[in-house]
Symmetry: D2
Subunit: 183 residues, 4 copies
């Protein structure tokens, strides 16, 4: 069971990263920090001649994502949604769909996914639209949406005081351990 | 009554643009195409020394938005949310909050806002998380969220066949006309 | 095309009823006022010996619903959801599932459905959970969820001033007329 | 800190009840089983002469609810919402509002609330509209909505295998213990 952790924060060592690190510690994981790469907004060529897509880091990043079995999206909750970095990356999946729809969906349909969102304005309630958006995304890609953690934190490290999130992390880790043994 | 229309599509003359043009035709409006500007992802300096923010087009764009009374966000529904261009622009509001929170919120609190999202996968249902996200955004900024249109279209121009959206456009225009006369 | 209108208000001639009457005027429709019938809460016998279900009006009401092609649920928005009358009626569908799951789902899968909710506290936003609940209900029953109207009204008759709702009504009627001619 | 647990199931010893019992074990709590009482649907007299409200058990039940500091709503997820029993009880709050709006809201504004929903069809996702509905309810009553557990279970006792829910229960109990000591 290999894990791809897709970090959407612009800041290193933030709360969403910390929570995702606790979650995946000791498991084989590829840690992908979107802020380290250049990924431009999608060009919508659905109804135009196919022009070249941006020559940026999208392809190499999506390849790393597709190579793993389990996806963990770890994003700060910015303005009640995933970060622009995260959203821009996902928008580019339309490019992959256009280039090889069947192959892309087949790979995604074999994965399971988790979403971590961390914010400080009632994330357990106001993070819900973010969860529902991922719900539709994974419904489209055929990915099993296993669960989510909506963590509460503002200043650096505060997530370590969010006991509900820490309990959720432990519960997922325990599930993964069983899967590794039995799988 | 001045209107700022914030277009989030990467493509010109797409369905969300067409709908927003029908909506605002004949009204004084500043048409802002985010794809025409360079707006980088937010740098999260909340817990760091204040470093310089990106030298890009954000400031000039937000000034134009703040100058109007009515905001219309017109975005294609990409992956069940607003476009990355739209989300990246909104994320940058955190910069404005950091630079002048009171002034920023005061200006936003005097505006009213509309959201247009156009997609082809059951937008009246699967566009709902997008609406709810804007609901929390405007709750935070104190902006009156007047309403939204979730239009259905895929190929270019198809939005003109979505009679429910066209009726909604007419209804809003009629409301604006009364406001202009009475206001 | 026969329509079943399921009214969930405890009050006659209220705003949700008025809107549903405008919607269905001139079409063949069975108008079912849940408040006129005795429908008790569901007994959950899933994990118990099958005891007798309540001897009330449920069976006759559900038969009338199942006999039509198009369902219109017209409910006031009470406490940000459908009325208790409406919810209690739907809960009883579990009885029908237990008695004849395949037959029940087959009938529902051939229908299309509309939802009308009328309230006075920002129904276009705060009525959304009601819509999403029906979305899951119809997903389960295999019913095509065609659309919804979230109308704004408080005092009697006020719905007639909600131009967006009236426009939506006209748009659905026009759709139905085409279906009747072509269907 | 006194707790009112409002059980919405028609069945005794079901999964939502079991989870709520684990949550409240050892704390001072009034366990209120709505199925044990006769609570009729609300009569909507907002725009009519005030007629007598039903002579049923509503008043005695709401008095017990109002007497406690913490509310726990424990409902099975029926058809992607709270049970009809739960909804019908909440609808009747409109009667209390009509009889003494200020007093009712003042009492509710001093309480905190938790919601437990248990279902078997992806409750962590499809239970979300139920949570959002309670979110608006508590926003209206001014009650602090502390959190929710969306548990997964079908056959009796299965909730005891839902480790995420059990962890959430422990976390809330630990929070309550601190509050009792410090409060």
């Amino acid at each position: 069971m290999g894990i791809a952790v897709i970090y959407g924060s612009s800041r290193k060592k933030g709360n969403s990263e910390q929570l995702a690190r606790l979650l995946t510690e000791g498991f084989e994981a590829d840690h992908i920090f979107l802020a380290d790469y250049r990924i431009e907004p999608i060009k919508d060529y659905r109804h135009a001649d196919k022009e070249p897509y941006p020559e940026d880091d999208y392809r190499s990043v999506i390849e790393r994502v597709l190579a793993q079995d389990v996806l963990v999206f770890a994003t700060p909750i910015y303005w009640y949604g995933s970060s622009g970095l995260t959203k821009t990356f996902i928008d580019r999946w339309s490019q992959s769909l256009r280039e090889d729809k069947d192959g892309f969906l087949e790979k995604f349909s074999e994965k399971s996914a988790w979403v971590i969102g961390v914010g400080d304005d009632e994330p357990h309630l106001k993070g819900i639209p973010l969860v529902q958006q991922f719900q539709y995304i994974f419904e489209f890609t055929g990915t099993r949406f296993e669960g989510y953690i909506l963590g509460k934190a503002n200043r650096p490290g505060e997530i370590l005081e969010d006991k509900a999130s820490l309990a959720a992390v432990e519960q997922i880790r325990s599930k993964w351990r069983s899967a590794s043994v039995n799988g």
